[in-house]
């Protein structure tokens, strides 16, 4: 076998030395002469119609260079999923006629110091006619609920339907044939990434008309594409410098800092820094959304799960961000790594007047895994089977068909369970040790 230089070796991090000597440069460490600081004015209420927006007092405050509002945004849409054809655009970069969540960005004050920007931000006057907010997925789906989305429902529409569907086999027949029915309801709460480094962006205008944009985004190309569209400039006018992210975890994939900072820089002709506060990270940056998952499984007495019906509700908050995609991923993973020949999933991406949800560590799939595995233990207890055995019995085998119409290849759950049991010194009965991923005899 060829000698391997790197694989199998312990290789130190390329940025390790910079980290331990304090030399790694983060966006907040970048400073330019005559740099201005940006402070965002955010909606104080969850839902309403904006009547007036008066920035004159803030603009007149000593030390303020400019105030940026929706009028300054060439294309006032954040189009993250629009880039891959998922629409319609629903989130303005800066609020215009309505506010949809407490914390929604309305106006950006740009000033000589952070303190001045903050003081002047308090002088921006927004008059909002309050509307009753939709506070959770249940309120959103209740009959007679206020509809908060312009297409007429509080859910994302997947090919004309209000939910992402998975249909495989016939669950009703399978439930009738099952020996046991096991139901479970699982719920997760919104969760904030809390990166140690808050979202920060520095933009510097260049003499040739381009903008240099320092960003701690996890997704430099998303940021480049979205910012170019929002600014209505060709992407070669933007010079993106990224790289070091002080903690991302999915919390720095939405393009929520760069466009406004860039516009502020263009408007003032000066470098601008926007460093989110810790309070903004908690209350305004995207979070993992709440999930509510209702499971009904049909099980044979030999332990095989023959039917699964799931209704899943994801609280996307006020806008898409990445949620329609996350719900699709979720729906595709609701059977877990197990073979279930009859599956029915209705997964809803539900809009509420709350802080928008987005990606966080295994977006959409980790809540599903939580529900799937707790449900497996419940099944094991209900039918009186060992929790290891229930998983061996149902683990995918090569050649089986998944509910998403993809054939299983490279299955390894059986072998992984066997290795894990050995590692922790848990003795498995012979019949489980004899199993392997190629032992499925076919339909």
């Amino acid at each position: 076998m060829k000698q391997l230089r790197i694989v199998g070796q312990s290789v130190k991090r390329r940025d390790g030395m910079g980290h331990v000597t304090g030399q790694t440069q983060y966006v907040d460490d970048i400073t330019y002469p005559h740099m201005l600081w940006l402070r965002m004015v955010r909606s104080p209420i969850a839902r309403g119609k904006v009547r007036t927006l008066d920035t004159s007092c803030a603009e007149a405050y000593p030390g303020v260079a400019a105030v940026v509002t929706w009028r300054d945004v060439p294309n006032n849409w954040y189009t993250i999923l629009g880039l891959i054809g998922v629409g319609p655009n629903d989130e303005p970069v800066l609020a215009h006629e309505q506010v949809m969540w407490k914390g929604e960005p309305i106006a950006a004050v740009v000033a000589e110091t952070e303190e001045i920007a903050r003081a002047a931000a308090a002088l921006v006057r927004v008059d909002i006619d309050e509307l009753p907010p939709v506070r959770d997925v249940f309120e959103a789906l209740a009959p007679g609920a206020p509809i908060i989305k312009e297409w007429g429902t509080n859910t994302f529409m997947y090919e004309g339907m209000p939910m992402r569907r998975v249909r495989f086999g016939n669950v009703d027949e399978a439930f009738a044939a099952a020996d046991h029915i096991v139901e479970g309801t699982y719920q997760t709460t919104p969760y904030e990434h809390v990166p140690l480094e808050t979202q920060t962006c520095v933009v510097k205008p260049e003499p040739d008309g381009r903008l240099t944009i320092h960003s701690n985004t996890q997704a430099l190309y998303f940021t480049l594409d979205n910012t170019a569209i929002i600014l209505n400039v060709p992407s070669n006018r933007l010079r993106m410098i990224g790289g070091t992210v002080g903690g991302g975890f999915g919390g720095k994939v939405d393009v929520v800092a760069e466009p406004v900072t860039a516009i502020a820089s263009m408007k003032t002709g000066r470098p601008v820094k926007w460093r989110w506060t810790r309070a903004e990270e908690f209350q305004a940056s995207s979070t993992a959304g709440a999930w509510r998952m209702e499971y009904k499984d049909g099980i044979k007495k030999d332990g095989h799960i023959i039917a699964r019906k799931v209704r899943a509700l994801h609280d996307a908050g006020a806008y898409h961000r990445h949620s329609p995609y996350g719900v699709t991923k979720h729906a595709a993973n609701l059977q877990g790594p197990y073979y279930i020949p009859n599956v029915w999933v209705d997964a809803y991406c539900v809009y509420t007047n709350r802080q928008p949800a987005s990606a966080l560590r295994g977006f959409g799939v980790t809540p599903a895994s939580f529900a799937v595995e707790v449900q497996m233990d419940k099944i094991a207890r209900t039918i009186g089977m060992d929790p290891w055995e229930i998983r061996f019995v149902n683990a995918y085998r090569n050649g089986q068909m998944k509910a998403i119409q993809k054939q299983v290849e490279d299955a390894t759950l059986v072998e992984t369970l066997q290795a894990a049991a050995k590692l922790i010194g848990h003795p498995l009965p012979e019949k489980l040790l004899a199993m392997h991923s190629n032992d499925w005899k076919g339909a």
Binding site: E115, R118, A119, A122, T277, A279
Partner: protein, 277 residues
């Protein structure tokens, strides 16, 4: 309104002069661990600020068996006071090492619940507050110090300069329930001290609670329930139940009112059980 000046007086007299001149316009900083958070966020913008870090108020003296602790003695210092293990234990449970190096004992009297763990221990130890103004000083028991949420009995020209703690008698336990093992705000805090006679009968008791009301409080009826009784399951159960009744905690992001009330009962019971061991 931007802050105009930061005074750093170098003696208690200089501090009192400034306080007498400026009164309530002057924000007093101990270690800054409470006020600087609000200043950094723009939640408060005091016109004038006075740091007590150099005012010579951080001495600790043992006098005739009681301890005189300077107002600006750090919680790190207090955490080392072997003469007052209950107070030292409470101080150790506050924040992380850096916070304890900065935060002051007197400062802990002014932070609103759920903070104030050292104040809770001081209550159980019958501490007294020395409040000074330009014209003189007065002493008041800590039980008379708290008037409401973040409101005290101090006048606008008065400064806490010292906290006096008598030599403690009996056995005492400090318990803090938080969301993490260390560096956590309190769900509930309990500082319990019981004095028993040779037969194990309780002759005096202090049950002080934090995050159980608008300010650190003593559950005096729970204390009375222990008088004249041995510490056993019935008396402990009664005291815990009375303490739960006396509590009127608030709900916040950390814990709900009903959970805090339940945990008051649990913490008081556990503290009394620990004393019996």
């Amino acid at each position: 309104m931007a802050t105009e000046a930061m005074f750093i007086p170098e003696s208690p007299e200089a501090a009192l002069d400034l306080l007498s001149e400026h009164g309530r316009e002057l924000l007093i900083l101990g270690g800054g661990t409470a006020a600087m958070v609000l200043i950094n966020e723009g939640a408060i913008s005091p016109r004038l600020v006075m740091s007590l870090q150099r005012a010579g108020l951080n001495e600790v003296r043992a006098v005739d068996g009681h301890l005189e602790i300077g107002a600006t003695a750090s919680l790190a210092r207090v955490a080392q006071l072997s003469a007052l293990p209950l107070l030292a234990d409470a101080a150790r449970h506050i924040g992380g090492w850096a916070i304890r190096n900065m935060a002051t004992l007197a400062g802990n009297l002014f932070v609103p619940p759920p903070a104030g763990d050292a104040a809770v221990a001081l209550l159980a130890l019958d501490a007294e507050v020395i409040a000074a103004r330009k014209s003189g000083t007065r002493k008041l028991p800590l039980t008379k110090f708290f008037k409401g949420r973040a409101q005290t009995a101090l006048g606008p020209d008065e400064l806490v300069t010292r906290i006096d703690v008598p030599r403690p008698s009996g056995a005492a336990v400090f318990l803090k329930l938080g969301r993490r093992r260390m560096n956590t705000p309190a769900v509930v805090t309990a500082a319990v001290r019981v004095v028993r006679d040779g037969q194990g009968i309780c002759v005096d008791a202090r049950i002080a609670l934090g995050a159980a009301g608008e300010y650190p409080l003593r559950a005096t009826q729970a204390e009375a329930v222990l008088q004249g009784r041995k510490l056993d399951t019935p008396s402990i159960t009664d005291a815990a139940a009375m303490a739960m009744q006396a509590a009127h905690p608030s709900s916040d992001a950390l814990a709900s009112e009903w959970y805090r009330r339940k945990m008051v009962g649990v913490c008081v019971r556990r503290a009394l059980e620990a004393i019996t061991r």
